[in-house]
Symmetry: C2
Subunit: 340 residues, 2 copies
């Protein structure tokens, strides 16, 4: 079985974006009409998935995707907490409809109603709703709700602890995933995403989060940002900062996905990172949608890169399935209930 | 000849830091004594270099270092423009003394008197002084003088143009190098440096800077941040954004150094980046000062990694010398004048 642990609903019907546009317009000028989500039919959802993610999933020989709302559209820096809450619920409810329509191919991961200056513990309620009522298996946690201004506390700050406690209690992982950037210095998918990944890892290195939360599981997407490429730097920094080895200090709790869009990058990832810490993913459809002229294949068809690795089949199976079922126990449980 | 294009004077005599401490104290509370730089003797400078950078340079079989003030200590976010100017001149004058004492082994690159909210064109005067009067061959340009708040304009903004014009006129390159971080989200050498590199590259990708400055040469240090690891992502983003291929759009003007502290990272760098765009460097002594327990050698002894590459000797020579002389024509000229 091949599970893609990182896919986004970037192809939702137009009514979703129309709602968001109206919501923002109303927030900025309350004299404008209150936003209203126009009905989205099951057929519209089916079409948006069948023609896109499900088609590509099948073409590429994968079985299922752990699916979440479009990451750049979470935009926790827009509006206020109430705006974020409403927008988040709508997105999560839509993911639930996708997973109900395609139960064999999609499992849900939720967005959170984070908002600038609002304690992340206020996101616990929506996490519980999504996990306990909507059957979701994890969440995307934004380490920078400001959208590129990074004016909140680092992930190792006690302010995040109530949320981490809930993740452990519910036994679900979080993917550390920034959203859109409102800072003109940072292109979202080309700088902010990758910087967010690198930043989160270094925060874990500086801190001691996993001593406090030995059962917490966090995924750093996009192949761990810059971290595997600079693995020597991080090993050396841990040494200079008198921290335990990275294998002990961080890598019992942190996983990198395979959203790296060329063979040499995937080769490096598997060369330096223990196979137990790698989860298969494509980010489909995410940052890069085109075809690589040097290969003739889609940049984000990351299965091709993994297939090309000269590693044992058992290791590939860990990356495709085993590790992901271990990191997402609620997914594992659901699959087992189906005899899978 | 082996030239290390990226070294910092991180071992300056204590008087320098004492001055800085007093300068900051006086800025914060003008009733405190005005700062005064205590005399630093030639012998003190000799000792600080001979025991450290020069020793390691010789032990590692290198010939010279392009040398600049300690990057994290530039700290353009501290004080105001006057504070930055004074601090910068003191640091640059000290580099000049190093290069006068060790003319065979050190060439100077200057720090700039950038300051938050101050136009970078105000740094032109110090650049001219350092190049024309102190014989320096380049500069370190901070893309984020705020120290991790990124509240200035991106490098492609017209605000930077007067400075780029001067770089072209003087025919010197700039290394795009952030300084210390005052944002608790970003560890300086583990997150802010690498993020700064990645961010700068993506700004160049989004913009069209090198159409306006076809002769501008910029170095992105630390192996180009996350860029080579995610080279497929950047090629794909250029394609999606209807930009020319990276080889045309960016890589005629941008160079990556070899400050990547493990063999797999250096292997990847040379696999994906054209050898013409790679400059040998160690950042000595910079982010990571220890010994890698897996190799028994210093993490930052990057020559070992380059030596281990299975590439033609002529390519190594480009990285060690040829490219660097091309990117730093004033260095090349000075070496030629000595018959080198």
């Amino acid at each position: 079985m091949i599970i893609d642990c990182h896919g986004h609903y970037t192809t939702a019907p137009q009514q979703l974006q129309d709602y968001r546009d109206a919501q923002i317009a109303h927030f900025e000028d309350p004299s404008k009409p209150a936003p209203e989500l126009k009905h989205i039919s099951d057929d519209e959802i089916r079409e948006s998935i069948e023609k896109n993610q499900l088609r590509a999933l099948k073409e590429r020989g994968c079985d299922m995707t752990i699916f979440s709302p479009k990451a750049s559209a979470m935009a926790h820096h827009i509006g206020d907490e109430a705006v974020s809450k409403t927008w988040t619920r709508i997105n999560n409810d839509l993911i639930k409809r996708v997973t109900d329509l395609f139960p064999d191919n999609f499992f849900g991961v939720c967005q959170l109603p984070q908002s600038v200056g609002v304690p992340v513990k206020n996101s616990v309620e929506e996490l519980e709703r999504c996990v306990n009522e909507l059957g979701m298996v994890g969440c995307n946690l934004n380490p920078d709700p400001s959208g590129g201004h990074w004016n909140g506390p680092p992930l190792t700050d006690k302010a995040w602890y109530p949320f981490f406690e809930k993740l452990v209690e519910l036994d679900v992982p979080a993917m550390i995933h920034v959203s859109g950037s409102c800072n003109p210095n940072f292109h979202h998918t080309g700088a902010h995403y990758i910087n967010g990944d690198t930043t989160a890892f270094m925060q874990f290195l500086e801190g001691d989060l996993f001593s406090d939360f030995p059962d917490l599981r966090l995924i750093i997407p996009h192949g761990g940002g810059a971290v595997p490429y600079h693995w020597g730097r991080y090993r050396g920094l841990a040494d200079m900062m008198k921290k335990p080895a990275l294998s002990e200090h961080i890598m019992k709790n942190v996983y990198f996905d395979t959203c790296v869009y060329h063979q040499p990058g995937i080769d490096l990832l598997f060369e330096v990172i223990d196979v137990e810490n790698i989860l298969f993913a494509s980010e489909m459809f995410g940052a890069v949608k085109g075809i690589d002229p040097t290969t003739g294949h889609y940049f984000d068809d990351t299965k091709r890169y993994v297939e090309a690795l000269d590693i044992p089949a058992a290791d590939k199976q860990k990356v495709y399935e085993g590790n992901t079922r271990r990191v997402f126990p609620r997914l594992d449980e659901a699959l087992k209930a189906r005899g899978l």
